[in-house]
């Protein structure tokens, strides 16, 4: 180490190597075209290369790497869902997250702090008990806490906000957070190093469909022939599906979040309230991150509204009264593709070689690694849907087999 330091000090070459080479020229043909260069898209490219040896892959991104919802989410990782289908799926994701820094040789700043969800009504307590039992049965670490235990865990929390005293809490020990940008950067670096092409500023605009197969993707930079296509475009899901005439139960809503100025560390777990529709956590930089429910009506715009801030901040102050003195530093929004049952739409589409990773609404970040693994498996097998994602198929709606996760998702992401 000292010698290399000395050598580099005397050399005119910079010793730091860039993580990403400049984008290669756009190829005319790829085995797999992935539309969407967020976490899900680049994770799929990464696992295609590492687990299936498929590297003739292009990731098309209309903006820049991880610039959509990957950069806009609140980085919550957890598996304390309600239905066995979801719990199994998210447990697999949390397991991959735990080892991801090693796997990618890139520090994703994984921080396992636990997530506490507060119940303010008898109904919520019953629902939490059910979640707790389902979680434990399948191997996720969840337990019920009473008021005294909550008080010991988060001493600065107000247990009697207004007319909604806290009755109990769902303590999810596996709850964690990580650096969201690093997920996209780490996966993209690994995929590019193994031969995948990442094309920023390349927008998929239309498709050439022959015999119910997509044979080429029309982009703003020209036509690309393709063996198959994976769609992972979050809030723009309906726009691409409409071009192919695929009907889907997706509504696009903005989801707003905000952070305060940084303060000294005081809050270790992620704290979320089911009745106040508000969750609060402290980031590694000391900012208080505040998030809540989606906007009240659909929109393809990440504009801010005062209404939402007023409501959300009032609830955050109910939970942590001293936050009233903190100043907001940043506010932003993501464009989310919501489904009626708050579960994703993954797997095959009515077009033979067009695969869907959509409907990720407000819960896509925590599933990034397992989405990459399962979508890569789906593509590599030529359309055999992995067991883990079979319940999330698009046709579950026409079979009336929804996976209802509204209660476990709507306000705690």
């Amino acid at each position: 180490m000292p010698f290399s330091l000395l050598r580099n000090a005397l050399s005119s070459d910079p010793c730091a190597k860039p993580d990403f080479p400049p984008p290669p020229p756009l190829g005319r043909s790829y085995d797999v075209v992935i539309i969407g260069g967020g976490g899900h898209g680049v994770a799929t490219a990464y696992y295609l290369a590492t687990r299936h040896g498929i590297a003739n892959v292009a990731v098309l991104e209309k903006g820049y790497l991880g610039g959509g919802n990957t950069a806009r989410n609140t980085a919550v990782i957890r598996s304390n869902y309600l239905t066995p289908e979801s719990v199994k799926f998210y447990i697999a994701s949390v397991d991959l997250y735990r080892d991801l820094s090693n796997e990618l040789d890139f520090n994703i700043m994984y921080s396992e702090r636990g997530q506490l969800t507060l119940a303010h009504t008898d109904g919520a307590v019953r629902a939490f008990r059910q979640r707790c039992e389902v979680n434990r049965h399948l191997g996720a670490r969840s337990e019920m806490l009473d008021r005294q235990q909550i008080k010991e865990l988060v001493p600065c929390l107000n247990l009697d906000p207004g007319h909604l005293p806290v009755l109990a809490g769902l303590w999810h020990i596996d709850g964690a957070t990580a650096r969201h940008d690093a997920i996209a950067w780490g996966y993209a670096r690994g995929a590019i190093a193994r031969g995948a092409h990442f094309h920023p500023l390349t927008e998929a605009q239309d498709f050439v469909v022959e015999n119910n197969r997509v044979t080429a993707v029309k982009t703003n930079r020209g036509l690309i022939q393709c063996g198959c296509v994976v769609q992972a475009v979050a809030g723009s899901s309906s726009l691409l599906l409409n071009k192919l005439g695929i009907r889907a139960p997706i509504h696009t809503y903005p989801l707003q979040a905000m952070v305060t100025q940084p303060v000294k560390p005081f809050l270790d777990p992620l704290v979320s309230s089911s009745a106040l529709h508000c969750y609060v956590q402290q980031t590694g930089r000391g900012e208080i991150l505040i998030g809540g429910g989606s906007d009240p009506y659909p929109l393809y715009s990440s504009r801010a509204t005062l209404d939402l801030k007023e409501g959300l901040l009032a609830h955050a102050v109910e939970m942590f009264p001293f936050l009233a003195d903190a100043k907001l530093m940043r506010q932003w929004a993501g464009i989310t593709d919501m489904t009626p049952d708050y579960s994703p739409i993954m797997g095959r589409s009515p077009i033979d070689n067009y695969y869907l990773d959509a409907g990720w609404g407000t819960y896509g970040f925590k599933a990034t690694p397992i989405c990459g693994v399962t979508m890569a498996e789906l593509v590599a097998s030529g359309g055999e849907t992995p067991e883990l994602i079979q319940p999330f198929s698009l046709d579950r709606f026409s079979r009336f087999r929804q996976i209802n996760e509204m209660g476990a998702t709507a306000a705690s992401h």
Partner: protein, 102 residues
């Protein structure tokens, strides 16, 4: 504050209203297939552009139709549903439900 021009109550704060979904024609529930019914219940066009949708003014419980741009959030026009629904719709009679002993 964003204003919604209600056809009945005039311009009001949009927080007084509830969004009610895209305006789509309902198939005859007694005559359509399960697939057609599922399509009606679940699937959305969800366009980025001008869309016709149902809205409810909560306080007066008045349903109306708005034309709104889902990219700019501009409300272009609101009108009473009576402009579109001018005749009574009679669906085929439902088959009598079997009473189950309790």
């Amino acid at each position: 504050m964003k204003l919604m021009p209600c056809p009945l109550n005039g311009p009001r704060n949009i927080t007084e209203f509830t969004y009610g979904g895209e305006l789509v024609a309902m198939p005859d529930p007694a005559a359509c297939t399960d697939a057609e019914w599922a399509d009606y219940v679940f699937n959305k066009t969800n366009p980025a552009g001008i869309v016709r949708e149902w809205w409810l003014h909560n306080a007066s419980h008045y349903w109306f139709i708005a034309e709104r741009d889902t990219v700019t959030d501009d409300i272009l026009r609101t009108f009473d549903p009576g402009e579109l629904f001018t005749a009574r719709i009679d669906f085929a009679p439902q088959p009598a439900r079997q009473e189950t002993p309790s």
